[in-house]
Every structure is written in structure tokens, then in C-alpha cells.
């Protein structure tokens, strides 16, 4: 039957107003209402979650709504939690102070807190909520937590591994055995998801070393007798080790294809061990070639035929027609200060182009290597039509600048005041600006360097470096004053090589050298007044890892020449070549570098300021100006010890970097190195007395280093031992520098 009410009375509500309840009731005055509709109205009020219970009582022409409100939460606190702090727990729960108390929320909170504990390794933590009633329908909410004990992993073992040792496999896994510092390290606690992830890591490790059939049969996890730690055992089945048999390319496209061109792009050769990574690299080389030849929508599918007899895999790369998908839009979000174009120009793909996932991945890589973003997620979703795709770029900006005033202590230059403003994303335009000056008492300088990597929207890097340096050298008894101004243009000359061309004007002067306290030639240089030299030059640099297909071995080449013209004409040639490779399954990294320079004057001659001096990064173990041609005369009252620099230098460096067996989380690894090199030819005849080491006299330095990834940067501590040095060289046994990657 149905009702019609001309008045409504609401009882029991204190905080919630009548109009609020009426607005949810949805029944107008005098409106005919069936019992079912009345019931729905009640349901709507209950759904607000504001009331403990709701009764709808029709009394003749009046509708009575009796509600009891949920209390409001006065205070929330946690008792018994030590591993997870209050703030972390507040973040995980939904109930908040001053809001309505809701039992469903509290239930969810208990579950969330227990899950948070399980994720941090305490899988048998217990959480019980307690309510303390207060007057005026308010409550205090208390979560009582008993954490009882961390469950760590005591030992990780393997069964069925014939080719690789337990120790080697343990290094591959992300979950670690509980070591001496177990309380600090989080990764030795047992967590099921990480075990799943580790299974995948193990499979990838084996498959990329020639075991296509490798599987992890199961992972046995037993609790130790004292029930406070786990023993985890992976039993695996390696299967046969396969190598590559025949390699060929076929085309299933209807238009004519020059297969030979595709064939010689492939690097996998007959006899290599089977590795998905090298096949993936070949696929990307083949697809790049296809796009370069203007073939659209071509995808490469690897087809593998296994012959058990001689354990080889025949590999065929099939060129097939992919389906026609287009990039509809590229949307960039999260760039608060960075301009849209700075991110967009990292894409070689343009809106409307065919969709090529590899190109999108390479663009994502370039965006991340800009160094402006803490996180740059590039993913695709379907556009307005099934064959159209929208590329979403979500970036989170990271601080890209530093403004520091302070002191700078450097083992070579002593102590000094320093102000420097460095910004690698100046005004969000992707330009870099470094402005710094230092008043270190042995080395005052003002330095500005600016770079615009995409001049006029082209892939053309404009650079401007200028500095003004005054030094009163400890190593020698004269002062130098130099000013350089050097605009440059750099551009890519090939996929992995680029060329920088520059013009430079330079002023150099040597002042207040006292005759008798310095070498005669240096004193002669200081008598002449300052000299302006103009020069043009280029530097070609090649890096084998620039195209992103990083093989294990990488090599670099740098070759530069500077031509002085005008009243002093010279050719300054510098070159360096280096190679690095990792052996013993990426445990040991060997790096070899050869570096040299030659300064040849056809008009005028080199003054001390123009000549080469070897820096710590070129040859270790010497203090500033510590080696090379030298004028030494202790016959007079004061001994004269003046390093003359050289017009030529050559250095060879052999280095090895290896883990010290400490868990990776400490970020500490060890290294050893040998430097062999010389600096010679001061540019004048020095056959007289007191001149030493003017011709090629090689020095050898050996040393060990400690690499440490500290929060403020990767530091390198070098301990050096001079194996073969000259009498008057000034060596030093220890140095700290920022460790630069190869």
C-alpha cells in the first residue's frame, strides 16, 4: 500500500542537520510513496555512512525517522609499534581524527596495518582496534599492535645447478642472506613477491647464457627449528646449453627486399652462445634498417628451430608486415617548469607517424638521460580509433640546480671561499648555465659556461665558456693570469660520433717572478708583457655506447686539434682512446686508456702558461706540477725548484674494478690501477746544469682505490705508490676525487 505524508519528524540526530537527512530521503511533502520506495529512502540514508542505524516509521500522515549517529573520532593513537613509526601508520589508515567513526573503515585499517607489517617482513604481527567512549557521542580509537619478531632468511641454497656456483647465483638474486648487519639491511627479510621476482631474475640469467630450457622447478621455504628464520632452496633444471647454428633473414613482404643489406646488419654469428639479449639487439638493428629504407610497418619476428642432435639453434629473422597503427598525439604532463619542447624534441617520432614501439622506448631513454626528472614514465594507450595510439609522458621534476656559497677545500689548491650557481635546466629551456667564482688563496677564478643543446630547434649544441684565473702557485714562485673566451658549436656527425668546433681568444701573463728564484726561461717569460693568442679548433669524440645497444665492451675515442694564428702560430693536438670490458660474468671491469698531447710552434714559442701540466685525473700520485721537466738549483742561498711543464705528454692507464665481497647495498667496491707516462720537451734547449728530465722520462705509479657511492656523490679514494719516479718529482700518497664513469 502507499502513503502520503504532510510532515516529517526526525529524532536522534545531533550533529547531522534535518535538511541533510531530508535531502538524502528524497521524499517530498504529500507525495504518494510505496513501501518499497520508503525502504529505498531508508537505504539511501544508511548509505551515507553517517548513522549507526536508521528506522523509518510511518505514523499516519507523519513520517518519523529515528537515527542514531556514529560518534566522531576524537583521537587516534597506536601502541606497541616500533618497526613502523606512527607517521607511516597514519599514512596507511583511512580513519582520521574529527571524522565520523566508521566500523568498516576500522576493519579495513586493521587489514592495511597487518599488510604493511607483512611487507616489512613481520608476517605474524597482530593488530587489535579498541574504542574508548567519551561523553557527547565521541570516541578515542586505539590500535594495539604486537609485532613479535622479524622473520629473516638464514640461508639461500640451490639444487641442480651444474654450470654456475651457489655463490655466483646468490649474487644474482635481489633477496640476500642475513649478514652481520642484518638489522639495517631490508632485503634479507622474507617476502613472497620478491621470491617470485627472483625466480624471473634467475631465469633471465640462465637464458642469456645459452640455456633456453632453464626452469625453476620450485622454491622450498622451510622455517628453522627456532622458528625465527627461513631457509630458502631453489631447485632448478638447467637443460642443455645451446649455441647458434645457422642465421638467416627471410621476407614475407610483397615488395622486393634487398636481403643482403639486412644480413650484414646482424651481429649474432654461427657458434655464439644463445642469448635473447643479442637476438633482441639484432631485431632492433633490422627494424632500424627497415625504417631507414622507408619500409613502413615492418616488424621482425625471430623464428628458432632447435636441433637436439648437436645442441644448436637455427635462427631465422622474418620480416613481416605489422598492422598499421599511428601515433595520434604525444601528451606531456608534470612538466611544471620545463618547457614542452625540451621534452618533445627528444622524440624523433612526430604526431601522425606510424607507431614504432622501439623509437618510443629510445625517446624515453633520451628523456631520462636529460637528468631533469626524478621519474619519466612513457606509456601508450589507445587513441580515438583502434588503430591510433596516444603516447603519454608523465614526468616528475627533480631539482636541477644548486646555489652554494661556502668553502672549497681541494688537496691541490688549498682553502677558499666559493660561490657557484649551477643550473642544468635554466628557465626550463633545457639550457645549462654554470656561474662560479672562487677566492682560494692559491687559485682565484671567475668562470661562466652556458650551453644551448638545440640551437634554433636543430640538433646543434651552442656552447660558451669563459674564465678569468689568477694563480699564485705554491708549486712555483710566480703568479699567472689567464683569460679565455671560447664559443663553440657541436653536432652529431654519425650515430655515435660528434664533432665540436670552436674559436678561442686567450690572454696569458706571468708576473712577479724573482730572478734567481725561478728558472731563467720562466723569468724571461715573466719579463715579456701579457700575450693575446687567437685560435680555432675542433674535437671529434666517438662513444660506442651512444646508440643504446650497450654491449659488454665499450670503447671511446677523442681527438682534437687547436690552430693558433696571428703573431703566435701553433698546433696543439690532444688525443685519448680507451676501452672497457667486463669479464668473469660482469664481476671484474677492466679499463685501459691511452692519452697524449703535442704542442708544436711554427711562430713564437710556448711560455710556461701554454705548456701542458698533468692533472690528477690524467696521472695519479703526483701533487700539482709535481712531475715533468724541472729546473732545480740548490747552490744559491734559496733552492730554486721550478716545474717547467712540457710541450708533449703521453700517459697509459690500466685499471680494474672489482667487488670486495661486501653486499651491494653498502655501495663500496675496490679497484687497482697502474699509470705509466711522461711529460717532456719544455720547448727550449735545456742541456745546461740544473735542468732535469727535459726529454722523455717515463714514470710509473701503482695504486689501489676504494669506490664509495655516498649520498653526496660517487667518491673515489686513491692510495698510490711510486714505482719508478725521478728524484725531484713531488708525489703524494693519497687523493679524494669524484669518480667519473668511463
Amino acid at each position: 500500500q502507499n502513503f502520503a505524508f504532510n510532515s516529517v519528524s526526525i529524532e536522534g540526530n545531533a550533529r547531522i542537520e534535518d535538511e541533510t537527512i531530508l535531502s538524502y530521503l528524497g521524499v517530498a511533502q504529500g507525495e504518494a510513496v510505496t513501501a518499497a520506495q520508503l525502504n529505498d529512502a531508508g537505504q539511501r540514508i544508511r548509505a551515507t555512512g553517517l548513522f549507526e542505524n536508521v528506522e523509518i516509521i510511518p505514523q499516519g500522515s507523519q513520517l518519523v525517522i529515528r537515527v542514531t549517529e556514529f560518534p566522531t573520532v576524537f583521537r587516534i593513537n597506536f601502541e606497541g609499534n616500533s618497526r613502523l613509526k606512527d607517521d607511516d601508520l597514519f599514512a596507511t589508515i583511512r580513519s582520521t581524527e574529527r571524522r565520523i567513526y566508521s566500523p568498516t573503515d576500522v576493519e579495513q585499517d586493521v587489514a592495511d596495518i597487518t599488510a604493511a607489517y607483512a611487507a616489512s617482513g613481520r608476517i605474524n604481527a597482530v593488530v587489535t582496534p579498541r574504542i574508548i567512549r567519551l561523553p557527547d557521542n565521541r570516541v578515542n580509537l586505539v590500535f594495539e599492535i604486537s609485532e613479535n619478531g622479524v622473520t629473516e632468511i638464514e640461508r639461500i641454497g640451490f639444487a641442480g645447478n651444474r654450470t654456475f656456483s651457489d655463490r655466483r647465483l646468490r649474487n644474482v638474486l635481489t633477496t640476500k642472506q642475513a649478514g652481520a648487519l642484518r638489522t639495517f639491511i631490508g632485503r634479507d627479510t622474507y617476502s613472497p613477491e620478491r621470491l617470485e621476482f627472483d625466480k624471473q631474475v634467475l631465469t633471465d640469467f640462465y637464458q642469456s647464457r645459452g640455456f633456453p630450457d632453464f626452469i625453476v622447478q620450485d622454491v622450498a621455504v622451510q622455517l628453522t627449528s627456532e622458528r625465527d628464520a627461513f631457509v630458502v632452496t631453489y631447485n632448478v633444471e638447467e637443460g642443455q646449453r645451446y649455441s647458434i647454428g645457422g642465421v638467416s633473414v627471410t621476407s614475407e613482404l610483397n615488395d622486393v627486399v634487398d636481403l643482403a643489406a639486412f644480413n650484414d646488419v646482424i651481429r649474432t654469428r654461427n657458434g655464439d652462445t644463445y642469448s635473447p639479449v643479442s637476438i633482441e639487439n639484432d631485431i632492433s638493428r633490422l627494424e632500424d634498417l627497415a625504417t631507414r629504407l622507408g619500409m613502413q610497418f615492418v616488424q621482425v619476428e625471430p623464428r628458432i628451430v632447435r636441433n637436439e642432435a648437436n645442441q644448436t639453434l637455427d635462427l631465422t629473422f622474418a620480416l613481416v608486415r605489422g598492422e598499421r597503427i599511428f601515433v595520434e598525439r604525444i601528451d606531456i604532463e608534470g612538466n611544471n617548469t620545463t618547457l614542452d619542447r625540451v621534452v618533445r624534441q627528444q622524440f624523433r617520432v612526430v604526431e601522425g607517424d606510424p607507431f614504432n614501439p622501439r623509437a618510443i622506448r629510445q625517446a624515453a631513454e633520451r628523456i631520462r638521460s636529460l637528468g631533469f626528472f626524478a621519474n619519466a614514465a612513457v606509456n601508450t594507450r589507445q587513441g580515438s580509433a583502434p588503430d591510433q595510439v596516444v603516447v603519454d609522458v608523465d614526468v616528475v621534476e627533480a631539482p636541477t640546480g644548486s646555489l652554494s656559497f661556502g668553502a672549497n677545500y681541494n688537496t691541490d689548491d688549498g682553502f677558499g671561499l666559493l660561490a657557484s650557481f649551477r643550473q642544468s635546466n635554466f628557465l626550463g629551456r633545457g639550457q645549462s648555465l654554470n656561474l662560479s667564482f672562487s677566492t682560494a688563496e692559491s687559485n682565484k677564478y671567475f668562470q661562466l659556461s652556458f650551453a644551448e643543446p638545440y640551437l634554433l630547434g636543430r640538433n646543434l649544441r651552442f656552447g660558451l665558456d669563459t674564465n678569468y684565473v689568477i694563480t699564485n702557485n705554491e708549486g712555483a714562485d710566480y703568479d699567472t693570469e689567464t683569460f679565455t673566451f671560447k664559443p663553440s658549436l657541436g653536432f652529431a656527425v654519425s650515430e655515435r660520433g660528434n664533432l665540436q668546433t670552436y674559436v678561442q681568444t686567450r690572454y696569458s701573463d706571468i708576473t712577479n717572478a724573482v730572478n734567481g728564484e725561478v728558472a731563467p726561461e720562466t723569468f724571461a717569460d715573466s719579463e715579456e708583457d701579457g700575450r693575446w693568442t687567437q685560435s680555432v679548433g675542433y674535437t671529434y669524440s666517438f662513444d660506442s655506447r651512444r646508440d643504446g645497444l650497450d654491449e659488454e665492451t665499450g670503447y671511446k675515442l677523442r681527438f682534437g686539434q687547436e690552430f693558433g694564428f696571428g703573431d703566435t702560430q701553433f698546433v696543439k693536438t690532444t688525443a685519448s682512446a680507451g676501452a672497457t670490458t667486463s669479464v668473469l660474468n660482469d664481476a671484474l671491469t677492466l679499463t685501459a686508456t691511452v692519452e697524449g698531447g703535442y704542442l708544436h710552434y711554427n711562430k713564437g714559442d710556448s711560455s710556461i702558461v701554454d705548456r701542458f701540466f698533468l692533472r690528477g685525473s690524467q696521472m695519479r700520485g703526483f701533487s700539482l706540477y709535481g712531475m715533468g721537466p724541472r729546473y732545480y738549483d740548490d747552490s744559491g742561498a734559496t733552492t730554486v725548484n721550478d716545474s717547467l711543464g712540457g710541450n708533449a705528454y703521453a700517459v697509459a692507464r690500466l685499471e680494474a674494478e672489482f667487488p670486495l665481497g661486501l653486499p651491494e647495498e653498502y655501495g663500496i667496491s675496490g679497484g687497482a690501477f697502474v699509470d705509466y707516462g711522461s711529460l717532456w720537451d719544455p720547448g727550449f734547449d735545456c742541456s745546461g746544469a740544473n735542468y732535469y728530465y727535459c726529454d722523455f722520462t717515463p714514470r710509473t705509479i701503482a695504486g689501489v682505490s676504494i669506490f664509495w657511492d655516498t649520498p653526496i656523490g660517487p667518491l673515489r679514494f686513491n692510495f698510490t705508490e711510486a714505482l719508478d719516479v725521478q728524484e725531484f718529482d713531488e708525489t703524494k700518497g693519497f687523493d679524494v676525487t669524484i669518480s667519473t664513469s668511463f
Binding site: A14, T20, S23, L50, E333, D340, V350, G352, L427
Partner: protein
Amino acid sequence: CSGYDPRAEGALETYTAEEIFQRGEFELDRNQADDAAFYFGEIERLYPYSEWAKRALIMQAYSYHKDKDYENSRAAAQRYLDVYPASDDAAYAQYLLALSYYDQIDEIGRDQGLTFQALQALRAVIELYPDSDYAQSSILKFDLAFDHLAAKEMEIGRYYLKRGHYQAAINRFRVVVEAFQTTSHTPEALHRLVESYLSLGLIDEAQTAGAILGHNYQSTDWYADTYALLTENGLQPNLIGDSWLAAVYRQMIRGEWL
């Protein structure tokens, strides 16, 4: 200053809701907005049933907003809407919610995602409370936010146009002409379409775009440019007085687009 610490446990218990409310308003006038927000929050906790609690909640949202603490302002406004959806301040709460997104646009001008959220929140104010006095200023802010989105499409369109990717530029300018006709960018979008279609040789499309521009925006500079382009068919090589060096100065130093 005074040893009295209002945030100590139970310090405010002895005061009535009204006294705390006045203290909150006093803090607001001294524009200590974050302290004011704290006091209004305390009223809600100590006297959850009073009329003061309701007014304190909306004042709390306002104080957080004044203090540019947009997260808390949004939370407080949302709480008000949950508990008092039918009250007369609900329109203001919804408006504060919208402002919490909109006011951030100035600081983070470049980010498109935020502008979108501001538009949705402003539309809620306009649709749910059309006759409240906040609807009018919401409409104004809605148009401005809408204009920001159009500006973003134009910025990307010009990026592609300058680099000679005419089809990508056309697609972006078409979005502005179709989805953002009410914004101030439509005349420029139409002129850019003329430039792009002419560059591709699609003459009749260029003339269609020029006709629409002439019909609706006859008096703009953009129509003057289009008229010049169409009549001389854009044959003059490049702008007079545009040297290579001037281009470097404009783009690298001043950061302009061309």
C-alpha cells in the same frame, strides 16, 4: 612571546566554541592563516555538535586556502560537502575545492593535468549551484583555464609548424578550432592552418580556413596576415630584416618560438 601554547594537549578545553572561533578569526586578520586553521579544526573536534562546528569547518577550508595549503583546504572542503551537502555554504565549499586546483595553475603554469582538474571542479560549481554568487566567478575562471588548455595545444602546434611537420601542426590547430572555438586562440589557429595548408599545397583548404577567419574575426591582425598570404600566395622568401643573428637572439636568449 606568551608562554601559553594552544597546541598543548587539552589547552583549549576550557574555552567555549565561540571564543575559539573568535580567536581563529583574530588569527586570520593577523593573516596567520595556518594558526587560524588549527583553531577552527579544534572547534570541530571539541564541540562536534554545535552550529560553530559547521561554520568552523568552512572557515578551516578558507584558512588553509589562504595559507596556500591546497591539500588540506581540499580535504576540509570535501568534508564539509559530505556532512552538510544541503547547507547554504555548500556552494562556497565547492568553489573553494575548485580554487584549490585553479590557484595552483599560476605556479605550475606548464602542467596540463592540473588545468584539467581545475576545469572539472569549476564545472561542478557552475552546474550544482548555478544561482549562487560563486557561479559567476567560476564561469570566468573556467574560461581562463579553458584558455590555458588551448594555449598548450597552440604551443605544440607551433612546435611542429616551425620544424616543418605540417600534418602534425594541422592536427593540433584543428583541435583548437573544433574544441576551443570560444577561446582567444581560435583566430591564430585559423591563420596557422592557412600557413600549414599553403605549405603542403592544399590550396582550397587554405582558402576555406581563410574564409572562416575573415567571416568571424575580420578585424584581427591574424586576418590581415592571412589576407596578405593568400593574395600574394606567400611567395616572399622570408621576413624582411630577419637576420640569422636576430633569430639566435630571439630564440636562445629570449626563448621565443621562432
